[in-house]
């Protein structure tokens, strides 16, 4: 056999095949190194300087001063808006996450059925989760309009109905101001987030459909009613999905931006000033790149701590099949 004479094209191909891993991963590797690793390092440094982001000569080293200011316990020197933003964000998460979990689980249980046409319902429930962004937020803004919006129109009709059956003072009950009221602006966001509960719902639905039927039968033979079946069979069986949705819910709600930024209006009195909105303002409206970087790292630590807490407690309540 005559060996192939090496051709220039072949030699190149041989080299490329030997280093194929690096070559194929190259675009992503550049992205990871520049946009992730170096950027993170830069962000750490930035959080210790005072800088408007314009000229390097304007940069001033301040060390941990930003962090000290953010985390200061002294109400005189503390960053008041930071505290408002943190409080709003945590309160929002404390209500929206459990509400979302309960709502999406209830919907998933409703959809866990072999009814004909159930696929249509699943599509309808899931659709709003996919439709997001500015357009749906503007639609909701109109729905929440205190005078001409859908929700208050329905409420007024309901009041009239109550009045019609003999409870006359119902007509004088007030309707919420929703986005124009510091009390009702957050509940408005809860409603909006429930509308998009379809994602978590599908994760629950997949988990529910994987629960083996014989476990329910065994429980029923042991005399368990519906509640005990749910509590002792369903919940442990779907606990990995619950765990996943809980972690995703926490991460997602703490980073809420679009709704809060777009739905701001007079009359809310900072009730929709959320963490990332505040961070955005400091960075891109006040050009305080250093301070905003420190804010970002504080948020990072908060998210990591909460996620770690869930992960650690997960050992006690998340049940994985085949591992006892």
């Amino acid at each position: 056999m005559i060996p192939d004479r090496p051709q220039p094209g072949r030699r190149w191909q041989g080299w490329a095949d030997r280093h194929a891993g690096w070559i194929f991963a190259a675009p992503w590797l550049i992205g990871v190194v520049v946009l992730m690793l170096l950027s993170m390092a830069a962000s750490v440094v930035l959080s210790m300087v005072e800088w408007d982001g314009v000229a390097l000569s304007g940069m001033r080293w301040v060390g941990l001063e930003h962090y000290r200011h953010i985390l200061s316990l002294n109400p005189e020197t503390a960053d008041k808006d930071f505290r408002i933003a943190l409080y709003n964000t945590l309160i929002y998460a404390v209500f929206a996450v459990p509400l979302g979990l309960a709502g999406s689980l209830a919907l998933a249980m409703l959809l866990d059925s072999t009814l004909r046409g159930i696929g249509l319902f699943r599509t309808v429930y899931y659709l709003p989760h996919v439709l997001g962004g500015v357009a749906t937020i503007l639609i909701w803004r109109w729905i929440f309009h205190p005078d001409f919006g859908l929700i208050n129109a329905a409420l007024r009709d309901a009041y009239d109905g109550i009045a019609a059956v003999g409870f006359a003072q119902a007509r004088t009950w007030p309707v919420p101001g929703w986005l124009y009221s510091p009390t009702w602006s957050k509940p408005a966001l809860f409603l909006m987030s429930l509308w998009g509960a379809g994602g978590a719902m599908l994760v629950f639905l997949a988990a529910l459909q994987n629960v083996p039927e014989h476990l329910y039968e065994a429980a029923r033979i042991d005399g368990a009613g519906r509640w005990r079946c749910f509590r002792h069979v369903t919940l442990p069986q779907i606990s990995p999905a619950l765990f996943f949705n809980l972690v995703m819910g926490i991460i997602g709600t703490l980073q809420i931006f679009n709704q809060a930024y777009l739905l701001e209006s007079g009359g809310q009195r900072k009730s929709l000033l959320f963490y990332v909105v505040y961070l955005y303002r400091r960075a891109f409206e006040h050009y305080e790149m250093g301070y905003a970087s420190a804010l970002a790292w504080v948020l990072f630590v908060i998210i990591m701590v909460l996620t770690a807490v869930v992960l650690l407690t997960g050992r006690y309540w998340v049940h994985y099949e085949g591992e006892r």
């Binding site: 191909q13 490329a16 095949d17 194929a20 891993g21 690096w22 194929f24 991963a25 675009p27 992503w28 550049i30 992205g31 990871v32 520049v34 992730m36 170096l38 950027s39 962000s43 982001g53 919907l107 409703l110 009814l115 309808v124 899931y126 659709l127 996919v130 439709l131 997001g132 500015v134 357009a135 749906t136 503007l138 639609i139 109109w142 001409f148 859908l150 129109a153 509308w195 599908l202 994760v203 997949a206 988990a207 990995p240 999905a241 996943f244 949705n245 972690v247 991460i251 703490l254 980073q255 679009n258 777009l262 961070l279 960075a283 790149m289 905003a292 970002a296 790292w297 948020l299 990072f300």
Partner: protein, 302 residues
């Protein structure tokens, strides 16, 4: 032993009535479930229906108290007023075109470079691969805010502010850890023998990837394309930071602009919002299973 006459019949009868009761109970339960499903389903659709109705009203019907649900008569001209560049208050068609350009460029980049990285992580052996896979998993968890400002400064110094590059170039650098992960997981499931056969036939790595692996990974490609399409079509914060020229706005910024300058033209605002939702809704209806697949891949393996 014979049962007294009639006893077995009685038994059977009792059995039949018990069956009938069970069937009736099941029917009632099914009916109830169907009713609840329908009511909630209408609740989910109501915001969209309400927006459609508002988009078809003349302005004086929008601001009427108490609010009326249905437009009377529907004013289809509202959509022309939004889309026709000669009468529109903002270049809305232009915004949609801009969004299309950004989204398509970003989706192509994500599918191409994301699948290449996924292939390298799943199938090629190269030094430090294990390390980079751990980096991939770590970056999937990273909240984006810590990168926001460094990215802005990088792009600003490259002179990319007020261009589409900050919105597109990252998609050509892997397009996000989640998509790379999704591709990697999918390539792992493709049997190795196909690839080995191709290697023996003398195919190069690129040929194997392009002619063999990528066509086999069509479901993963569809999932990533669908998810990244929606993400880029609806992106708001990136354009908000990087774009200042009205002519270059994508639809998300255009809608916000519309709300700020013409906030009281609610009928037109609703029409514009619905038009911008339409591509995503159509994509969803045709590619629903790919959305579900992407979601469940994260949800069950996570």
């Amino acid at each position: 032993m014979n049962d007294p006459p009639g006893a077995s019949e009685k038994h059977r009868d009792r059995g039949r009535t018990a069956d009938r009761a069970a069937i009736r109970r099941r029917r009632v339960r099914t009916g109830l479930r169907l009713a609840v499903l329908t009511v909630i389903g209408l609740g989910f659709l109501l915001p969209l229906i309400w927006a459609v109705c508002a988009s078809l009203k003349p302005l004086d019907q929008v601001y009427v108290f108490p609010p009326q649900f249905l437009p009377n008569p529907p004013q289809w001209d509202n959509y022309r007023q939004v889309l026709d560049p000669r009468v529109a208050r903002l270049p809305f068609l232009r915004f949609i075109l801009n969004t299309t350009v950004i989204t398509v460029s970003a989706v192509v980049g994500t599918v191409l470079t994301g699948s290449m990285a996924g292939y390298a992580l799943a199938r090629l052996s190269w030094r430090t691969r294990g390390f980079w896979f751990i980096v991939l998993l770590a970056t999937m968890m990273l909240p984006g805010q810590v990168l926001l400002i460094p990215h802005f400064l990088i792009y600003k110094n490259l002179g990319w502010v007020n261009t589409y590059k900050p919105l597109i170039v990252p998609s050509w650098l892997g397009g996000g850890a989640f998509f790379v992960f999704l591709f990697r997981q999918f390539f792992k499931t493709i049997p190795r023998d196909l690839e080995e056969a191709a290697l023996i036939d003398g195919a190069g790595r690129w040929q194997i990837y392009w002619r063999l692996m990528l066509p086999l990974a069509k479901p993963a490609v569809a999932t990533v394309a669908a998810l990244s399409f929606v993400a880029h079509w609806q992106e708001f914060m990136g354009p908000l930071i990087y774009l200042s020229d009205l002519e270059r706005y994508p639809v998300s910024l255009g809608l916000r602009m519309f709300q700020n300058i013409g906030g009281s033209w609610t009928n037109l605002l609703m029409a514009a919002s619905l038009v911008s939702l339409l591509p995503v809704a159509i994509l969803f209806l045709f590619a629903q299973r790919y959305f579900v697949r992407g979601l469940l891949l994260t949800g069950t393996k996570g």
